[in-house]
């Protein structure tokens, strides 16, 4: 079984970090993983995205043209990748920064107002964690508890951050119901 996904956003939104945490969580769950950033021309302020593959078997292509899941942290990301997601997949839209509806109908669209939720929690920089939690909830690509462990580990030296980030993570997870995981995983896949 293979999960593959694209996480995309503005440079500062943490798309690469979210992707890395997914990959790490997958690895800790004993899966094969790969994480591939887009490394375009070194121009600032552009969009950043990464492709993550989490699989039971050695990862074939780390380049995924038609991912099974997309996390669109902002509008350009949705514009760029919406059409590529496989039918039956999942698109998680950060409605705080995306002011249009997704038009795809052959897959699951999930929404989360990541920045608004983070702002409400008094932790505006936690929007990425909200999005991560929501993505885990919406796709089930990894277990939430693995991500939780990872957050604890990453910020081990700054307990305050651990709490704030976990709160955001769980808020995101809760916001999408944290339920649709199995649907996605069951998407029929050629090479998994």
């Amino acid at each position: 079984m293979q999960h593959d996904m694209i996480i995309a956003g503005f440079g500062g939104q943490g798309a690469l970090l979210i992707g890395k945490m997914l990959a790490y969580a997958g690895m800790h769950q004993g899966k094969e993983v790969s994480w591939l950033p887009s490394y375009g021309p070194e121009m600032r302020g552009g969009t950043a995205n990464c492709t993550v593959v989490i699989s039971d078997r050695p990862v074939g292509s780390p380049v995924i043209k038609t991912p099974r899941a997309l996390l669109a942290l902002n509008l350009p990301s949705l514009d760029k990748f919406e059409d590529l997601v496989r039918p039956g997949g999942v698109i998680l839209v950060n409605t705080s920064l995306v002011n249009r509806e997704a038009h795809r109908t052959d897959l699951k669209i999930v929404k989360v107002a990541a920045n608004d939720i983070a702002n409400d929690l008094g932790n505006p920089r936690g929007a990425n964690m909200v999005a991560l939690g929501a993505f885990v909830g919406a796709t089930g690509v990894v277990d939430l508890c693995e991500v939780e462990a990872l957050v604890r580990e990453t910020f081990a030296r700054k307990p305050a951050l651990v709490e704030a980030n976990l709160t955001a993570l769980f808020a995101g997870f809760a916001a999408v119901g944290g339920a649709m995981a199995d649907d996605v995983a069951a998407t029929p896949v050629g090479n998994s």
Binding site: K20, A23, Y24, M27, E32, V33, S34, W35, L36, P37, Y39, G40, P41, E42, V59, G60, S61, P62, V63, K65, T66, G190, N191
Partner: protein, 362 residues
């Protein structure tokens, strides 16, 4: 050691350190900056030396000096920077110095772009520098293999006293994958003390002279004959490749190296599910090229498909291997564009259904 998620570039740096390399000389260039950056941090921690050279020309001559002093040493760069090293690579080969050169290839020609490419194949395997010589060329397809091959590269360099390229496409350098470093690594070849190195002459051995100048034609010719004998040994003993689905039946044999081979493997898996039989032969050593393995593997196939991130460079070696015995088809992307599994699968279908035109040397 436990698995760690690492960028290919970082894994390369770490692997070098674990292989006992304590000297790095290099100059920044995308997409391999993470190698010098990582080492600028790590080398001091292990008592090693990181020097940011003033240029690739300087870096390649610094590794010449350090290699000549008997130490494990490496440099890394990307395509334009590697071109600047070609004189030094020829000197390294001529003076029989062991050194590892990592090339995380980007798209060319000229300044080109910074996205992944495999268009330095011919430079690395055939004729980058002047004169008759060859560097050993190893091409990893994953972060783990990048780490493993870097370690092996140091052993091969030392064993043969010859420069070794590790040729990665930009993908291998930039992507993160779990990687594991074996704690107790043994050299893959028996290594002798480097008594030939210039470390100060205490008259306990012949004077060590690191040199590639031979003004007398006969002497230089003998030197060349010796070098060619060494390359023949390398061609005999150091061929590395991996096959996928070679045991079964297949109509099309795909030849691809580096991350492109992974893309092709995904494509092949998908094709096989659809009942289309394809197999893959992945050269790991590009020099020496697995001519014989390829020739043999091709026998089962009705056609051979070469897939590269270039305008078709490895195709030449495939032709040299097959000598016309099978039609050769080619799928290549340039400019930093990647081959997708879908594209590779479609090309296989094209080959099988006669929609693809054979490539030839006209």
């Amino acid at each position: 050691m436990a698995k760690k998620l690492m960028k290919g570039c970082e894994a390369i740096g770490e692997a070098a350190i674990r292989a006992g390399c304590r000297l790095f000389f290099g100059y920044p260039i995308t997409p391999q900056n993470e190698i010098p950056e990582y080492l600028s941090q790590r080398m001091p921690q292990v008592g090693g030396t990181f020097v940011q050279a003033e240029s690739e020309v300087a870096a390649s001559n610094m590794i010449y000096g350090a290699a000549g002093a008997g130490e494990r040493v490496f440099t890394s760069s990307s395509s334009p920077g590697i071109s600047l090293m070609q004189e030094a690579v020829s000197y390294l080969a001529g003076a029989e110095l062991p050194a590892v050169i990592v090339n995380i290839m980007r798209a060319g020609p000229g300044l080109g772009g910074i996205l992944p490419s495999q268009a330095d194949y011919l430079q690395a395997t055939k004729g980058g520098g002047h004169g008759d010589f060859n560097a050993i060329v190893l091409a990893p397809w994953s972060v783990q293999e990048a780490a493993d091959l870097v370690a092996d590269a140091f052993d091969l360099a030392d064993f043969y006293r010859n420069p070794v390229y590790v040729l990665g496409d930009g993908l291998v350098g930039q992507m993160m994958e779990p990687v594991e470093f074996r704690d107790e690594r043994q050299p893959i070849r028996p290594l002798e003390p480097k008594t030939w190195a210039s470390t100060g002459w205490k008259k306990d051995r012949p004077r060590a002279v690191i040199n590639s100048l031979y003004l007398d034609a006969d002497t230089l010719e003998r030197h060349n004959v010796d070098l060619q004998a060494k390359f023949a040994t390398i061609r005999r003993d150091e061929v590395r490749w991996q096959g996928y689905h070679l045991d079964g039946d297949y109509d099309v044999l795909i030849i691809a190296y580096g991350t492109v081979a992974r893309v092709c493997l995904t494509a092949v898996e998908e094709l096989r599910e659809k009942g289309i039989n394809a197999a893959i032969l992945r050269p790991i050593s590009l020099y020496p090229f697995p001519y014989q393995a390829l020739r043999e593997a091709a026998q089962k196939a009705s056609a051979v498909l070469v897939v590269e991130l270039s305008a078709g460079q490895m195709v030449q070696d495939v032709h040299l291997a097959l000598q016309g015995s099978r039609p050769v088809h080619f799928l290549g992307r340039t400019g930093g564009n990647l081959v997708s599994p879908e594209e590779a699968a479609a090309k296989v279908a094209d080959v099988l259904e006669g929609r693809s035109v054979e490539v030839r040397h006209a």
